[in-house]
């Protein structure tokens, strides 16, 4: 009797399977199964001796700590809302020398001042809404963002459309972004008395300090009449699965910027103007002057190859040029190594080079007769090498819990960046991914 009953079971199973196959498929995999929370953080430090604030000489020492929370919420099967909120707090020796005459010590471009510009906080809020079609072959996103710091405010809007086809082997995308920014214009402290209608050399800065060198300090300074900066970008993407172990992508971005593209507190010293000093600090001949428009083009590609269960190779290359005369090459390679089912190592190397902008010259090498000039070494010619090592811990079962949130992964990465022009920087970044039960 019992055996008879057992024989019925496979019959019932096959019948159930057949019934299930005949039913319309009403189950649809959600784009995002559950709410995800990413906590990201970084600590950045740099040093060098070519500060743009002091005209191409002086300390570039800077530290920056950043923390960001990204929450991705599935609104339904097809739609996801991501909220991204971040703060960044920095201290900068070169920014402190926007006003080096704080009275605490002798002014010197290689020594940080204790003025209020030595530190600032940047805050950012971004919202992204994403919608996917029923067959997941069409994806639309819309983005709004705002960010603010003491001397700068930025508002951005953007969107993208992605089309997948060829059984999701091929992907085409287009994206556009616009940022409307506003400066709170701040000039080097010794130039402020020469703004329209102000007292010039009668200012207490000059009456209470002794000007050495050329004592008849008379900078060729005029105020900036435009405090806005607009950036518009249009990007195209194409990605393709080339084999079961190889896939690549091509990216093309166009960026147009208009408005105040120079930084108003960055000094310039002319070779044909006599030098004036207070203490050891050379007084500005003028601020950086740059064209009010810039067009940038970047084309890049990625190629990733899955070697085996242990090794993967990730490569990237980009060519960039703009109408300020800069061309650049970027190349990087990363080789993720799965050392266990939970830990992966990420050694990486990145090479970057660029030519100088047409308007760049080092300290004291510009002529006052030029229309545009800068001594910002970020616009100079240089090569840079970056070495990185990272480790990722992944627990797909999210065993470790805090309340109803399970820890899915931890990323830690260290990068060392060195320019052949002298700047050296390091950054430690961390990312914690949590998923809601």
């Amino acid at each position: 009797m019992k055996i008879k009953h057992l024989r019925i079971i496979p019959v019932l199973l096959f019948a159930a399977l057949g019934y299930a196959q005949e039913q319309p498929q009403d189950y649809k995999k959600r784009v995002l199964e559950t709410t995800e929370v990413d906590f990201l953080s970084s600590y950045y430090s740099q040093d060098g001796n070519n500060a743009a604030v002091s005209g191409g000489i002086g300390t570039e020492e800077l530290t920056d700590f950043t923390a960001t929370l990204v929450i991705s919420i599935p609104l339904n099967d097809d739609d996801v809302l991501s909220i991204d909120a971040g703060v960044s707090a920095y201290t900068s020796a070169s920014s402190s020398n926007v006003d080096p005459f704080d009275g605490g010590q002798a002014a010197d471009p290689f020594i940080a001042s204790s003025g209020s510009s030595k530190a600032d906080t940047w805050a950012n809020l971004t919202g992204v809404y994403s919608h996917s079609s029923e067959d997941r072959n069409d994806i639309w996103t819309a983005k709004l963002s705002v960010s603010s710091e003491y001397d700068y405010f930025s508002a951005g809007v953007g969107g993208s459309y992605t089309k997948l086809f060829n059984e999701k082997n091929t992907e085409l995308s287009i994206n556009g972004n616009a940022y409307i920014d506003t400066w709170n214009v701040i000039y080097p402290s010794e130039l402020r008395p020469f703004e329209n209608g102000r007292e010039g050399l009668s200012n207490s800065l000059f009456t209470q300090n002794t000007i050495t060198g050329n004592s008849n300090y008379n900078p060729s300074f005029t105020e900036i009449d435009n405090d806005g900066r607009n950036s518009y970008s249009l990007g195209f993407g194409f990605s393709q699965i080339l084999s079961p172990k190889l896939q690549g992508s091509l990216l093309l971005d166009f960026v147009q910027q208009d408005g105040l593209l120079s930084t108003p507190f960055q000094r310039v010293y002319f070779s044909d103007v006599a030098d004036s000093f207070i203490d050891n600090f050379q007084l500005a001949d003028d601020i950086e002057r740059l064209p009010d428009s810039r067009f940038k083009v970047a084309v890049g590609g990625r190629l990733n190859y899955y070697i085996d269960e242990t090794f993967t190779v990730r490569t990237y290359y980009r060519y960039y040029f703009d109408d300020w005369g800069i061309t650049s090459h970027t190349a990087s390679v990363e080789v993720p190594i799965k050392i266990t089912d939970k830990f992966t190592l990420y050694p990486s190397y990145r090479f970057y080079n660029q030519t100088a902008a047409d308007y760049f010259a080092p300290y004291e090498q510009h002529l006052s007769t030029s229309e545009y000039y800068t001594s910002d070494y970020d616009l100079s010619k240089y090569n840079a090498n970056q070495f990185g090592i990272g480790v990722t811990y992944t627990d797909i079962f999210t065993k470790f819990h805090i309340w109803k949130i399970g820890l899915k992964s931890i990323d830690l990465k260290f990068n060392q960046y060195d320019r052949d022009s002298g700047l050296s920087a390091s950054i430690i970044s961390a990312g914690f991914k949590f998923v809601m039960d």
Partner: protein, 70 residues
């Protein structure tokens, strides 16, 4: 001329080598390390590059907004 030819040849070979990999054959392609983008935790590295370097774009990072002046 040679440069253009090389670029065109690369693009042509990129397209012509396409094969359709079925969903069940994408187990390696779907590995998290095969993603054609940077990890979220690498966004600060991309941001610092956009501050310290002239080149931006074609990497999925931000292409505008903010002064990048420190």
């Amino acid at each position: 001329m040679i440069k253009k030819f090389i670029i065109m040849a690369c693009i042509a070979s990129f397209f012509s080598s396409c094969v359709v990999v079925k969903e069940y054959g994408k187990v390696n392609i779907n590995d998290p390390d095969m993603i054609l983008a940077d990890k979220k935790s690498e966004r600060y590295i991309t941001t610092f590059h956009s501050y310290r370097e002239a080149a931006v774009g074609a990497n999925g990072g931000k292409t505008g907004g903010g002064c990048g002046c420190n």
